[in-house]
Amino acid sequence: MQIEAAICAFCGCLCDDIVLTIESDRIVQAKNACALGKAWYTAHSRPPDLPAARVDGKSVEVEEAIEAAAILLTKARYPILYGLSSTSCEAQRHAVALAEALGGCIDCCTSVCHGPSGMAVQGFGEPTCTLGEVKNRADLVIYWGSNPAESHPRHMSRYAVTSKGRLTPNGRKNRTVVLVDVRSTPSSRFADLLLTVRPGIDFEILWALRALVLGRKVEPAGLAETGITLAQLTHLAELMKNCRYGVLFAGQGLTQSAGNQMNLSAAILLVRDLNQFTKFAIIPMRGHGNVTGVDQVLTWQTGYPFGVNFSRGYPRFNPGEFTMVDVLRRKEADAVLSVASDPAASLPAEAVQRLTEVPLIAIDTHESETTRLARVSFMASTVGIRASGTAYRMDNVPLFLKQALTSIYPSDEEILGRLLERVRELKA
């Protein structure tokens, strides 16, 4: 059997042109998918090899695990729900309701990937566009602190570099591509202009670019540490001002380096300034398949995109106070529910330490450091392969992920829905 126009939910590109070949309930081919997508499709269509639910390492009925998880969570007085970047919006909606019912915190992978972008948007706004405008219009594409060849392998071909559109009928020939990074990566060879900068000085460079774009004086001494000359920057500033439609793709090299939200603030202000002269947009290179969706869901339900606390029965927001790494590092969390994420393998060791000290519940589609560590763990069907649901692309375009194979485990949506129901009963 073949499925046309399937959507790969591994990364924020959500490529929706995948052709799946299915034989006896397995995906044997994922045409058009990149290496990351192929691995995702193949790995997630493996037959189940783990029990659907475990408590203290022992296989149990899902219902029993729901009960155990609900009791652990309702007993906690500062629980935190975390992850949610690789699941559906339908599951995320339940997760927010669950955090609310528990009076806990809820945070998503955003806080450790593009949370700084979110904070910068809250400070200064965001001139942006959907990826189709990049395809149709962009004649200048800048990747800053991003290595799309390895993080989003089809980003350049489907959307930003070689793709052809209304005002870019010749694709690559119609565009100038600039890469700014601290090292050479597999993406470097796609660039017309490669700026290798010293680590941790993105703010200074962006700030100097702003000044150049605005025609202000720049003190060359201030650039001494950047690895970049004033002449190089002046050239880039001119490219930016003189393009027809420019797009700056902001990677984690900006959000995770010293300056964090201020780097993104600088990038946004630069793009804002450029709109005095031309059209320019900024798009954060969101990583996980639906990390953009969880920001959306949290925002429409609480007003805030990540780092939300419900201790008082209503949502409050404060990155640094209610965000996962902080709540763990300060040893405040007294129970953790991880959904569709692997904090034990992805957070700094000092934060992971807390996961070993408190009741940990994990819902994921496969075994991970976190599921192994968890008191209660659930195996869930992967959204887009064995479950359906909504996901938002990195440019906030919503898509419906269809189920391709039979469901072997309950979905995150079902597990969270049942957990929510049980928690509400226990709390009543």
Partner: protein
């Protein structure tokens, strides 16, 4: 005077925005002990965590390590709080008047978005001191914050009015996007100070690394700085005589913003 001595250390964050002299002024000891505080996600009584002695006063003394106790004195409108120990996050955030003295460290966002009054921290302050919460148009808007130790990132960010003085070092982005007001740092001023500042003054006593959008103007003796240093001296900050009489290098910026801000760097020569 009212004394609150911590008797039970909270094992979760304790939100004590009811610890305010203006709330206590008209209450008896028993009433104060019954005021709600939020422990984790459960409301408890202040008396569950503190021994309360005294009532009907706007003079408060807190004792114990209150590093886990958030929101002490937030929004207060008059009175005085003295803390013998550390204070948690949001100390005096949004306060309008009155005074808070901490003989210990304070957590992040001390004095954030305050619009009057005075905070004197004898230990270190955290990040966002006198700064702005995410999304806000401005941070501190009147009032004074004095820190004897160090302070973290974004000290005085988006400040609109007021004075922040730090005896020790401050982190990155001190005075970022300041609209007006004064920030004095006697230790080392972290990188990117004054980024995006429109107006306002930052004073440094060690040569900082400045952004390329600040330009050197001249060396002179700003009269207004003498007055501020005098004020600080009256507040108990020890001020070297040559700081008052000495010359300062003036840099103006941020050219990416209005460019009417100034960074003064003490010139020993």
């Amino acid at each position: 005077m009212i004394r609150l001595a911590l008797k039970t250390r909270p094992d979760l964050p304790l939100e004590a925005d009811t610890i305010r002299p203006d709330y206590f002024a008209q209450k008896t000891e028993a009433e104060i002990a019954k005021l709600p505080v939020l422990h984790g996600n459960q409301f408890c009584a202040l008396g569950d965590f503190f021994n309360v002695r005294g009532g009907a006063s706007d003079q408060l003394v807190l004792e114990g390590d209150l590093a886990q106790v958030k929101r002490i004195g937030t929004g207060m409108e008059y009175g005085q709080i003295t803390i013998h120990g550390n204070a948690g996050m949001h100390l005096g955030a949004g306060m309008r008047a009155g005074e808070i003295v901490v003989f210990g460290d304070a957590g992040d966002w001390a004095g954030a978005e305050m619009c009057g009054g005075k905070i004197h921290i004898h230990g270190n302050a955290g990040h966002g001191l006198g700064g702005a919460y995410r999304g806000s148009r401005h941070g501190m808007n009147r009032g004074m914050i004095l820190v004897e130790g160090n302070a973290g990132n974004e000290t005085g960010s988006l400040m609109r009015r007021g004075l922040v003085a730090v005896r020790g070092d401050v982190g990155e982005f001190a005075g970022a996007f300041v609209i007006a007001g004064t920030l004095i740092v006697f230790g080392s001023l972290g990188r990117r100070a004054g980024a995006g500042m429109k107006r306002g003054t930052i004073v440094a006593y060690q040569q900082p690394e400045l952004l390329p959008t600040f330009t050197f103007d001249c060396v002179y003796q700003p009269l207004y700085l003498r007055l501020i240093l005098q004020t600080l001296q009256l507040e108990g900050f020890s001020i070297e005589e040559e700081w008052r009489t000495g010359a300062y290098r003036r840099y103006s910026g941020d050219l990416n913003a209005l460019g009417k801000g100034e960074i003064f760097v003490y010139d020993q020569h």
